[in-house]
């Protein structure tokens, strides 16, 4: 179980939110809602240990994450605003590179590409992809290497209806497999049985 207790975050010299509690259990999805600037991205980046919380504690099954941030990073996927897709590499290479960097084998890459319906683009250099295909290549990382916790920051940006459906199926499969999801999104992801965390502007 991934838990945050009494979390406070600063951006620059300004406090974005404070006293925030949340928790995600295996199989659960937590959707972050709220207006622009309320700290959805900040919270997700804090959960990924890219940012340090100004106060509060993050725990994984009761253990403090700050004690071994590397271990926490190894069990999460973070999809941010940037795709981390290299134009000089093909779609397959882009996915394979990240799977290998995360210590996974290559046997799930084909599955990852068909999950996001980009199998026909295997050998296309990423610089020729449309924005939606680019995004799908980034999302395929989720499937290519296993990770218990998915942190998704506006994952549907530039996806069409079909791409969003692919993402829904991937998330459902991940949850069925006891995976956890934290997602910030403006549109309805169409997931069943989600918890909502409403953030307010301070």
């Amino acid at each position: 179980m991934f838990q945050g207790r009494d979390i406070a975050c600063d951006r620059g010299e300004r406090r974005i939110f404070s006293g925030l509690d949340f928790q995600v259990s295996p199989g659960q999805a937590l959707v972050l809602r709220g207006p622009n600037g309320c700290g959805k991205t900040t919270l997700l980046r804090t959960a990924a240990t890219l940012l340090k919380a100004a106060a509060g504690k993050l725990t994984w099954n009761g253990a403090d994450i700050a004690e071994d941030p590397e271990e926490h990073r190894a069990r999460l996927h973070f999809i941010g605003h940037q795709d981390a897709v290299k134009g000089a590499l093909t779609v397959r290479e882009n996915i394979a590179v990240w799977a290998k960097v995360r210590g996974a084998t290559e046997d799930r890459i084909e599955a990852a590409m068909s999950a996001f319906d980009i199998a026909h683009l295997t050998d296309t250099p990423a610089q020729y992809l449309s924005a939606g295909q680019h995004r799908r290549t980034a999302l395929a990382r989720l499937v290519a290497s296993p990770a218990a916790l998915w942190l998704l920051d506006e994952p549907t940006v530039s996806l069409d209806a079909d791409g969003t459906a692919c993402l829904q199926r991937a998330i459902a499969a991940h949850r069925a497999d006891k995976g956890m999801v934290m997602a910030a999104t403006h549109i309805e992801l169409g997931l069943d049985d989600v918890e909502i965390l409403q953030l307010k502007l301070q």
Binding site: A48, L50, L51, K52, E70, E71, R73, A74, R75, L76, F78, G80, H81, Q82, D83, A84, V85, K86, A88, L89, E93, V97, W98, K100, V101, R102, G103
Partner: protein, 221 residues
């Protein structure tokens, strides 16, 4: 360890695909060295006298100018944050990138240096020392440079600032590198100079990735 190798393999693949960067560093090296005979005259004795210094200064500048691709492209497209989330300590990730930087910049410069030494009429006694100083010294250029490259990540058009931060720190490498070749050229013992240069590089191997990692983490906040 597998992840460490995977990062090096990835960066090498990217360097090969995107090409050009190594070639540009070499051309810059050649061009800078060519400027000196044109600037100070073609007198062989004078050129031979200044050759070790010219070669090292040019190599230093070539290495420095290629520092911006150490982290910048990965920072801009989100790859750097994905790398730090790989579960590997950030200092090791930085070390992997430093190794790739050396393989794609330091090593080619090392291989080109003897050819340029011939152009400058350098005394043949100094060739072994030239290769040795380059072999020992250019890794230090990549290591120290990584700190500057990491510190200027969030700075727009950080190139000039990068040189201001890095060049003063390169001075000991330059001094020990050139003095070793000078000693060899004059038939003196180059060993103390080489040992000092080696000590410098050895000290940089644990310290620089650590400092650069601190700067990388800062840029991602």
């Amino acid at each position: 360890m597998r992840a460490f190798q995977a990062i090096i393999a990835r960066d090498l693949l990217l360097a090969v695909r995107q090409g050009g960067a190594t070639f540009l560093a070499l051309v810059f090296f050649l061009l800078t060295v060519t400027l000196f005979p044109l600037g100070i005259g073609p007198e062989p004795a004078i050129l031979a006298r200044v050759a070790p210094g010219v070669l090292w200064v040019a190599a230093l500048l070539a290495a420095m100018l290629s520092l911006d691709r150490l982290f910048q492209a990965d920072f801009e497209d989100g790859s750097l944050e994905q790398l730090t989330l790989s579960g590997l300590p950030v200092s090791l990730i930085v070390l992997a990138k430093i190794i790739t930087h050396w393989l794609t910049t330091g090593l080619p410069l090392l291989l080109a240096a003897p050819v340029l030494a011939v152009l400058l009429n350098m005394n043949s006694e100094g060739f072994t020392a030239l290769l040795l100083t380059m072999l020992i010294g250019t890794p230090a250029l990549s290591l120290i440079g990584a700190i500057g490259a990491a510190l200027t990540l969030t700075v727009r058009r950080g190139g000039v600032l990068l040189s201001l931060l890095v060049l003063p720190l390169y001075i000991p490498v330059l001094i020990f590198g050139v003095s070793a070749i000078d000693a060899a050229v004059h038939g003196l013992n180059a060993k103390p100079h080489l040992l000092l240069l080696a000590a410098l590089t050895m000290a940089a191997i644990p310290l620089c990735p650590w400092a650069a990692a601190a700067a990388v983490k800062l840029s991602l906040e």
